[in-house]
């Protein structure tokens, strides 16, 4: 069977949906009823005609063979992407041969697919000629970078002053003044083009509302912010790796210029977090040959799903390039050599003790790191008062779950999967505890996404 011949699961299809309404609408269309002439080519193309409320059915085609992720085309007027028809068609296809048989590509679908598959070459050709005509004047670029660094330095000095004022007057005052103080400071950091600092400052505003022990947490975060400021002011004297980490933590953009690593990357987790402005998507990948765990970060305007979508349980053959900075997990997705396909492979796991040790080691390269990606072997979710732990099945050691993980529905899927027996869990392990993101049963079985 070809890679493309493996059908996805319903969960994996639903993970492509841009929002909850599309999931629901797509699920409704995942039955044979409204569809006619549906088929799949065995080379990644799936098509069908979906009867809608109008007299002519919508023509829906999905191309799964594209290495840069599924591509969709539908004659419906929906602006959602993929639309409910594409989702319904994929669900139908996921259901098996019965509803979507192997067939010859009809002319209307084939034209679009050929057209599409021809395009990336052109795009690539255009791209390769791009950079050479990019920064025409390196001297001007250097001056721009210098000016920006000066602005950041001014912002950092201002922030240091504000932190000093805060500590002089006492955190108790800060607890009373609420968000306003921090929002204003964050705005100043945005002006200084230090987005990283702005984000950290904004988070400080929320700390006094986090319950007992907040002064201790606020002091810790202020201190780390101070550490970052000091790192920036002395970046010339830092080792190059750490200096790069400081630059990226402060918020200076840098291209992902690490050497491309081609590997068989397992998709371990994909989850979105959203605030009023932005949706941030995190995708964790594990390379089975390089044994590296990498993070793909992408952004979408509020309310829109960021690209790409990589459903958990698939694996892709692709190149990843790391972003600069010591101990950084973040990477950029480069060339993809094959479309993602379902896999039964799992990442190797470790113990809770080694997981915390790994976090400790990672802080040496990046003291601002909140967590590291870790796969735990043979752990049992255990209730602990109002909270939960992941306890080693074989020794008396456990990692507490983070507050965020406790309130997610994924927690209950994890508990249900375990049933008191050991499971393998991938997640983020850090100073706030462990956030489980995916789990596997001990015996055979598919990965269960928890986020």
């Amino acid at each position: 069977m070809t890679v493309q011949g493996v059908r996805w699961t319903a969960d994996q299809v639903l993970a492509l949906a841009p929002d909850a309404a599309s999931r629901k609408a797509g699920s409704g269309l995942g039955a044979a009823g409204p569809w006619s002439g549906a088929g799949s080519s065995g080379e990644g193309a799936v098509w069908g005609l979906c009867a809608g409320s109008g007299s002519t059915p919508y023509r829906t085609v999905v191309d799964l063979a594209d290495a840069s992720g599924p591509a969709y085309r539908c004659s419906c007027p929906s602006r959602r992407f993929p639309c409910k028809h594409a989702l319904g068609l994929l669900l139908l296809w996921a259901g098996g041969e019965g509803a979507v048989p192997r067939a010859e590509v009809p002319e209307w679908a084939g034209r679009w697919i050929e057209d599409r598959r021809g395009r990336p070459e052109r795009k690539k050709a255009a791209a390769s000629s791009g950079p050479s005509s990019g920064p025409a004047d390196p001297e001007a670029a250097r001056r721009r970078a210098e000016r920006r660094a000066e602005r950041v330095t001014a912002g950092v000095s201002e922030l240091e002053q504000r932190l000093a004022d805060l500590l002089r007057g006492g955190l108790a005052t800060a607890g009373r003044s609420g968000y306003g103080l921090w929002e204003e400071t964050a705005a100043r950091m945005v002006d200084a083009q230090a987005q990283g600092l702005a984000a950290r400052v904004r988070e400080l505003g929320a700390v006094p509302g986090t319950g007992p022990g907040w002064p201790s947490r606020l002091l810790e975060e202020c201190a780390l912010l101070h550490l970052l400021d000091q790192g920036w002011l002395r970046r010339e004297r830092l080792p190059e790796g750490l200096a790069a980490t400081v630059r990226s933590r402060v918020g200076l953009p840098a291209p992902a210029d690490g050497p491309p690593v081609r590997d068989h990357w397992l998709v371990l987790a994909q989850y979105d977090t959203a605030d009023a402005r932005l949706t941030t998507r995190r995708i964790w990948l594990y390379g089975t040959r390089s044994r590296r765990t990498s993070l793909l970060l992408s952004y979408g305007a509020a309310g829109r799903a960021p690209e790409p979508a990589l459903p958990v349980g698939l694996a892709l053959d692709a190149e990843l390039s790391a972003y600069p900075g010591a101990g950084q997990a973040r990477a950029a997705l480069g060339e993809r050599f094959a479309p993602p396909a379902p896999t039964a492979e799992r990442p190797p796991g470790t113990t809770t003790a080694l997981a915390t040790a790994r976090y400790g080691d990672a802080l040496r390269d990046d003291p601002w790191l909140d967590s590291v990606p870790v796969t735990l072997d043979r752990v049992v979710p255990v209730p602990d008062g109002d909270s939960w732990q992941l306890a080693d099945a074989d020794e008396d050691a456990a990692l507490p779950l983070t507050a965020a993980a406790r309130s997610r529905p994924g927690l209950w899927r994890l508990v249900a999967l375990s049933g008191g027996a050991p499971v393998k869990v991938f997640g983020e392990c850090g100073h706030r505890g462990f956030t489980p993101l995916a789990a596997w049963p001990e015996g055979p079985g598919e990965v269960v996404p928890l986020c």
């Binding site: 699961t9 319903a10 969960d11 639903l14 309404a21 999931r23 629901k24 609408a25 699920s27 409704g28 995942g30 039955a31 044979a32 009823g33 009867a51 809608g52 409320s53 007299s55 996921a94 259901g95 509803a99 932190l163 000093a164 500590l167 007057g169 006492g170 955190l171 108790a172 002064p215 201790s216 947490r217 810790e220 202020c222 780390l224 101070h226 550490l227 809770t352 003790a353 915390t356 040790a357 400790g360 802080l363 049992v380 255990v382 602990d384 732990q389 080693d392 008396d396 990692l399 507490p400 209950w412 899927r413 249900a416 049933g419 008191g420 850090g430 100073h431 706030r432 505890g433 049963p441």
Partner: protein, 573 residues
């Protein structure tokens, strides 16, 4: 967790480092469990930093630190070092008490396609559509009950990751609970014990649940019965009753005298299941109960036992009120309602006080006839069959009163022959109108008939009277609908469309048809899918809406067929 109360943990809740050589430095949150002066001092150092930070360096100078303008920076430097040191030194905590693992579930796993289907059906749960037109897509949540019934009938185990969504769905819909909990099995109950949102699962645990002791475990049964909460005791009694009716009654007798009146009522009610002649002595005794509601329930249960002494007494009383009068041209039933409600009647559960607006005597008559065994009427009324008795004219406007009471008796005693007689011919003109027997009563009467007879009667009813009154009657028919019934419904929908009305006037029946029509009927519906040319007198656009409604019907039927096929392991290649 053995973190000392004095040690302020900056954040996170990792516990103390166990003693012994540690690969990492110990942070300020680590407890004095670690020996050595440096380590034990750290929490105090951190505590001191936090206190200074809270008050401000203007008011307090930390010990051994710079003062004046340099104080804040020095404080932050020290705090940064401490914070990173603490984070780097985090160690796992001690494990809390582990839950007991789930007992083995011997049921086989779902076939993969069926497991995917379940995911999709449960995905639909949260998105309750915000009103509006339903469109041509099937309503997936409505299919969940059928899916669960089919999966349970084939004895599959629920896939563990689907349990939370399943329990959430059952939480929102009480009608789903029995099937959902059965499907969820021991793992579902195990899970429900850990989440207060799913308490209902423990309350309504079905008979075979693991939390209830088996009937053989007399000691645990007795202890739970004597010490358990009310809900647990009701569950225990019903579960025992479903397996060993006599043992359940005997258990109830052991504490009967000391139970509160409301509890006695609930416990007595659980004897309704598997009621038998053996229960008579206990029920007869309960006719003398202190509580009126308990007495009434005991009497009701006894009257459902045609061989009981109470039923015989009621037969005598009721028989005295009804007679055949041969003096006229044709035989006529005459009714002489009782003149008083004596102590004996009252003891047998007759309520003496009539509700407002009803005559006392007809009120008493109704109760007597309802409680009298139907089998005795034939002998008393000249050997006539139930059908003949129902056909007799009744004098002095007593007909409605008498027939309604017989209906209640037929339902209570589950007497199909009488029910058949009281229902009459489905095509009779009277059956459609506001006759002696209301639609609700007819639905109940239908419930006593065998599935085939029921379907046939309702099919005949729809054939004559159409759909407007059929909804309630369709609801009691067995699923999937028998072919004649299915065809009657489809024909009636077709007629309604041709008559030019909008489909939402029939949305109730449409919804039922989606869930209850035999999936193999889908093929017969293709002709209905086309949008017909609009007739002059039709409602504007109705044709399109009808086509959409039929589209949804066909889609849903196909989906149901696929669902059932996926659950059939033999069909797998």
């Amino acid at each position: 967790m053995n973190r000392p109360a004095t040690a302020a943990a900056p954040s996170g809740r990792h516990a103390a480092t166990p003693p012994g050589p540690a690969p990492h430095t110990t942070g300020p949150a680590d407890a004095p469990a670690v020996p050595g002066p440096a380590a034990s001092l750290l929490p105090e150092v951190w505590e001191d930093l936090v206190t200074t930070a809270l008050l401000g360096t203007d008011r307090r100078t930390p010990a051994g630190s710079a003062s004046g303008a340099a104080a804040p920076a020095a404080l932050l430097d020290a705090a940064a070092a401490a914070a990173v040191r603490r984070r780097a030194g985090l160690r796992p905590a001690r494990a809390a008490e582990r839950p007991r693992p789930v007992p083995e579930d011997p049921r086989p796993e779902l076939p993969p396609a069926a497991a995917r289907r379940l995911t999709v059906l449960l995905t639909d749960r949260s998105g309750a559509s915000g009103g509006g037109r339903r469109g041509a897509a099937p309503d997936l949540l409505e299919l969940l009950p059928q899916w669960l019934a089919a999966a349970n009938a084939r004895g599959f185990a629920a896939p563990p990751p689907a349990l939370p969504a399943l329990l959430d769905a059952a939480r929102g819909r009480t009608d789903l609970r029995p099937a959902a909990l059965r499907f969820a099995g021991p793992r579902g109950l195990w899970l429900a014990r850990l989440n207060p949102d799913w308490r209902f699962a423990l309350r309504s645990a079905p008979g075979g649940s693991t939390s209830l002791p088996g009937p053989g475990d007399t000691e645990r049964v007795m202890r739970l019965w004597q010490e358990g909460l009310f809900a647990e005791r009701v569950a225990l009694l019903s579960s025992l009753r479903s397996r060993e009716p006599a043992a359940a009654r005997e258990l109830l007798v052991t504490t009967w005298a000391t139970e509160r009146a409301e509890d006695r009522l609930m416990f007595l009610d659980s004897l309704r299941a598997r009621l038998g002649p053996d229960d008579e002595p206990f029920l007869e005794q309960s006719l003398a109960d202190r509580s009126r509601n308990v007495r009434a329930t005991a009497a009701e249960l006894l009257s459902a036992l045609p061989g009981s002494a109470l039923a015989r007494r009621m037969a005598v009383r009721a028989g005295a009120c009804v007679a055949v009068d041969h003096t006229g041209d044709a035989p006529l039933l005459t009714v002489e309602a009782p003149h008083e409600c004596d102590a004996g009647m009252e003891r047998d559960g007759v309520v003496p006080k009539a509700p407002a607006g009803r005559g006392e005597r007809s009120w008493w008559l109704g109760q007597l006839v309802e409680a009298a065994p139907l089998g005795t009427w034939s002998r008393r009324l000249g050997g006539r069959t139930p059908r003949q008795i129902v056909a007799l004219p009744v004098g002095d406007d007593w007909r409605s009163e008498l027939h309604t009471a017989w209906c209640r008796a037929a339902v209570r005693q589950r007497d199909a022959e009488w029910a058949q007689a009281l229902l009459g011919e489905p095509s009779a003109a009277e059956a459609g109108g506001p006759g002696a027997v209301s639609l609700a009563e007819r639905a109940k009467l239908l419930g006593t008939l065998a599935a085939g007879e029921r379907a046939e009667w309702v099919a005949g009813f729809i054939g004559t009277h159409g759909l407007p009154d059929a909804f309630q009657l369709l609801g009691v028919c067995a699923v999937p609908w028998a072919p004649p019934l299915g065809r009657a419904v489809v024909d009636a929908l077709d007629i309604a469309r041709d008559a030019g009305s909008y489909p939402w006037s029939f949305s109730g029946v449409m919804g039922l048809a989606e869930r209850c029509l035999d999936p193999s009927e889908a093929g017969h519906l293709d002709a209905l899918l086309a949008v017909p040319d609009e007739a002059e007198d039709a409602s504007p656009g109705a044709g399109g809406y009808w086509s959409e409604a039929f589209q949804r019907l066909v889609t849903t039927l196909r989906l149901r067929a696929a669902m059932l096929a996926e659950l059939n392991p033999a069909a797998r290649p």
